[in-house]
Symmetry: C2
Subunit: 374 residues, 2 copies
């Protein structure tokens, strides 16, 4: 199974210049130590990676030294920390001195190509939206995640997994466009297959906005350069029927956490089963290599990193509870996206689709007014 | 881990009378053969179980004979079959000759205590609602399922998993009452812990109806005889933090199918891992007993059977793709619920809660009008 991130051995850009990642050292559940450790892991073997690290300088400076990455890091002192339960609105008003704010500012100022944070998702999205601003034509940005799947590449893309609890039909169309762009760049699929998450695959099922989105996606597939497979169900998320699953952020977030929770439950049950008798312990020992590979295959840390789509700039949200391996995965994902010029590609795709749509709507105005324009 | 269904060795009622289960032979993905095979499995060791089996008599009669349960079955000829993609409204208009309709009629006529069908969920709910009618005080019936969990009993309850794609705050409160009743009777928990599914556990998160339901559940816990633990996330569904997870039928259905899909993906990955080398094959052989137990623990067939709550009578919806083992599990669940007088207990609980609420609202009318009666 090809991991879209760890396949990237060489993270230099095509022009050979270095990749600068802006990293929020604070706000994760495990503190800055695991973030710095994750940077050190990612830095190894990728000489072109450089970091701007945001947080209290007095705390970070010795950590960076200890991990031997002082020459790879520029420290940016930011004393404030956004806590996990802080309201986004509070951060917007009072958060200008925080490491999170400072991390996004580096992307806004074009000092860095991409930002990574383990912090509070709502606050990170709020700061990113206000400072980086939405792409023209995008109403609601989305968070996309990678999901272990039966496809040859080993992963599917799902979005939105938590940027916004609402999405109307037009938002779902934008998610499809952005998700297709992510699959093209991140999973190397020329014409990704897109499914719309619903409670059944029959056309008459589901909420009104889903029926409307179903029509929109059918019409938009050709211009958007994707293949629309119709409604899919929860069981199809890891399937080979589809590459990108489109849903609202409430449903997507519940599905993501349900999948992770199920994987962890089964992993624990498996451990219990394989340590229950002496014979099963022996078996586990024999199968250790295979079981380790399995564990990596379903380990949420290995695919750590939700990508914010629909902004002027790329932001990767790492799991709040990520350890060093998880942070490493998020950094590598950020670097790979930066290398492919992903942010510019999404922007170009959305812009060209919207231009075509405006044209089509104008042309067809007499025949079917507003069909595509909500 | 105690299975709430298979623990029930003796399914006779306390008064020793027989339990009659009305069974829809048609409408499942695998045809009537697996249904009859499932009845035969359930009948074994449970002499008090009797079936009324609905479908084309000419087809069913030889099957029943072949499986040796002719003396345990009353056949009820019904030539029509509800297909999986048939619209519920069509079944309501044209479906009076179907096996599904006939199955529910047996409960309505008090010939049977409980009904079981593998057919089209939407149609089954529509027929059940119209023929059995909703309990007084219940606006939307719900489907509850059992979910493998870390709790000592081995299962949590989740509802609604697909009766209705909508639920307002008052519906969610009814789901909590009915789910608590199910957990008390099905899982033998005196005071079940109830959680409300959301995208975060902070009080300010989520949709408006969830915030309103949060308030309602807090106020209702004492009178409803449950413990309200607040918002829970997808990862908590199989956790020991909670016994009953309350959500709308759209979200619940996606979560259920995502959990099942994840379990199947991991089972397949595990199989692959354990057959990849000679050493791992040997290990798998040694650990076979442990792995089989694991497989049963996470096998959706073992906990097959969504229960319709909020109707005058109990209906168990088996998975459309259920095999004989799955049908057996659904029949045993139906019999266990019938034995405990579950239907009457839910009705009594909802009625007494509503009576108390009416009283409270009348008393408090001056202070907080409509707080509970929204």
């Amino acid at each position: 199974m090809a991991d879209p991130i760890s396949d990237t051995d060489d993270l230099t850009r095509i022009d050979g210049s270095r990749i600068v990642v802006s990293v929020d050292a604070m706000g994760g559940d495990r503190g800055p130590e695991v973030v710095v450790a994750g940077l050190a892991l990612a830095a190894r073997g990728n000489p072109e990676l450089h970091f701007i690290l945001h947080g209290p300088e007095a705390t970070l400076s010795p950590m960076v030294g200890r991990h031997g990455i002082a020459d790879r890091c520029t420290l940016r002192d930011a004393p404030g920390v956004v806590s996990m339960d802080e309201k986004p609105s509070h951060v917007m008003r009072k958060g200008k001195d925080t490491s999170m704010w400072s991390t996004i500012e580096s992307v806004r100022a074009h000092e860095a190509d991409v930002a990574v944070s383990c912090g509070n998702t709502g606050a990170l999205m709020a700061v990113s939206m206000v400072r980086l601003r939405k792409l023209p034509g995008v109403n609601r940005p989305a968070i996309a995640c990678l999901w272990p799947s039966r496809n040859p590449g080993g992963f599917n893309v799902m979005l939105d997994v938590g940027a916004d609890i609402r999405a109307d039909a037009d938002d779902l169309l934008q998610y499809a466009l952005m998700g297709a762009s992510y699959a093209r760049n991140g999973l190397d699929l020329a014409c990704p297959r897109i499914g719309l998450l619903n409670v059944g695959t029959e056309e008459h099922k589901g909420r009104a906005e889903l029926k409307a989105a179903h029509e929109l996606l059918q019409s938009a597939a050709a211009a958007g350069n994707f293949d629309y497979v119709g409604f899919v169900e929860g069981g199809d998320i890891p399937s080979a029927r589809v590459d990108v699953i489109v849903t609202d952020g409430f449903t997507g977030n519940v599905a993501l956490k349900t999948g992770e929770g199920t994987a962890m439950l089964i992993r624990d049950f498996l451990k219990e089963s394989l340590t229950s008798t002496i014979v099963s312990k022996l078996a586990a020992l024999l199968a250790m290599k295979s079981l380790k590979r399995l564990s990596q295959r379903i380990d949420p840390r290995q695919v750590n990193g939700g990508v914010f789509l629909g902004l002027n700039g790329t932001v990767v949200k790492s799991h709040g509870s990520a350890d060093a391996t998880g942070v490493e995965a998020a950094i590598k994902l950020a670097a790979a996206l930066s290398k492919s010029g992903f942010s510019e590609r999404v922007a170009a795709r959305v812009a060209s689709f919207n231009a075509a749509r405006e044209g089509a709507t104008a042309d067809d105005a007499d025949n079917k007014p507003g069909t595509l324009h909500d």
